[in-house]
Symmetry: C2
Subunit: 205 residues, 2 copies
DNA sequence: GTCTATAAGAAGATAGAC
DNA sequence: GTCTATCTTCTTATAGAC
């Protein structure tokens, strides 16, 4: 990895732990193994480093869905996976989703950084809500819609059904971001949540 | 309100909007209508102001439940309220809860400040999780337990049922903290969520 | 308790040699 | 591209008069 990229990587780590304002260019340079002035040969300011991280994220998220072992951009192509979706498969899907978001290094650091900077301006607020509310609800809504279409679950309001599936996952994720030692407890609640979800939507309507 | 208290009030507003590190003692003093050095007659440092806000919160939250028009500390005493709990009453409860958390000035500012400072140290992380995860789940779990006991809803896993009730409320709250203009949309989803919740838990088991 | 003046130090960024 | 030296500005905090 070249220096320019290593700067982004170390800056992201520091920003996600301490917040933009509490990280000094000296800290970033030290982690990279150079002196602060050298850093300005790669980026014209501390803010430019932050902006470059946001830009890089926009490129990476295009491939995110693939990392979840789902096609991501073509839900119809994912339908095959959900042909025989039973409770255990749904639990596996939810835990994989949760574990990926929680443990993938880049995803976790970016989410934590955005958590700390979300009120800075309207654009960052939109990036956060887009990534952790609109996009998951849209995509998971398509998947659950497919499962409903196949008669494996039943709902006359798939968007709300999706909110019921995703909101507990999101909340448990924020808990583990703050207190990683609560992950076992979160995983237990997550599994119970999905089994209950499956029972609730598997029996009604 | 005396100067000492006004300092806390203005500091909380600024911290919740910009984060601790991006607020300067000059900014706080200006809002209060004094010069920065005068501020040091009331608090020995900027950090001491932050600490005083956290301390004040610990006192205020004792009375929080009462502001929600429920007893709060004695769920058994609240049982009366839920004697005739139908879907519309449950919707009202959820929307009141949501609206209180979102619009109560002190609650909103404190939550936003804590959001920005939650990774600073273990103690702040615990305050956040305690206030917005453990406490709501514990208390709402007691209320839902009462409703289940009265046969108005049914569940063999009240903690997970509580997670299903609260997690969407929490997630929608975080959306509105970032993008207040999305409140109408959030309220619509919130009402649909609770009506669906009532149907799901009203028909099973 | 509030002010003006100022100390003390931190932090972002630049200049110019190598 | 990296370094040392340095500039400039900002920020917290104190001193001491009123």
């Amino acid at each position: 990895m070249d220096t320019k990229q290593r700067i982004l990587d170390e800056a992201l780590t520091l920003f996600s732990e301490k917040g933009f304002a509490n990280v000094f260019v000296t800290d970033i340079a030290e982690k990279v193994g150079i002196k602060a002035p050298s850093l300005y040969k790669h980026y014209k300011s501390k803010q430019a480093i932050f902006d470059a991280i946001i830009d890089e994220m926009n490129h990476r998220f295009e491939h995110q869905a693939q990392a979840l072992s789902i096609n991501g951009t073509d839900p119809a192509a994912d339908a095959e996976i959900y042909k025989n979706m039973d409770e255990d498969h749904l639990v596996r899907l939810g835990i994989d989703l949760f574990s990926y978001y929680l443990h993938d290094s880049y995803t976790r650091r970016f989410r934590k950084m955005l958590t700390l900077e979300q009120f800075k301006d309207k654009e960052l607020a939109k990036v956060y809500t887009g990534q952790y509310f609109d996009m998951p609800l849209t995509y998971q809504g398509m998947l659950l819609g497919l499962i409903v279409a196949q008669g494996l679950l039943a709902s006359d309001n798939v968007p709300i059904m999706t909110l019921h599936f995703y909101a507990p996952i999101y909340m448990l994720l924020t808990v583990c971001d703050r207190e990683p030692e609560r992950e076992p407890e979160a995983l237990k609640l997550l599994e119970e949540h999905i089994r209950q979800f499956d029972k609730l939507y598997g029996r009604n309507f």
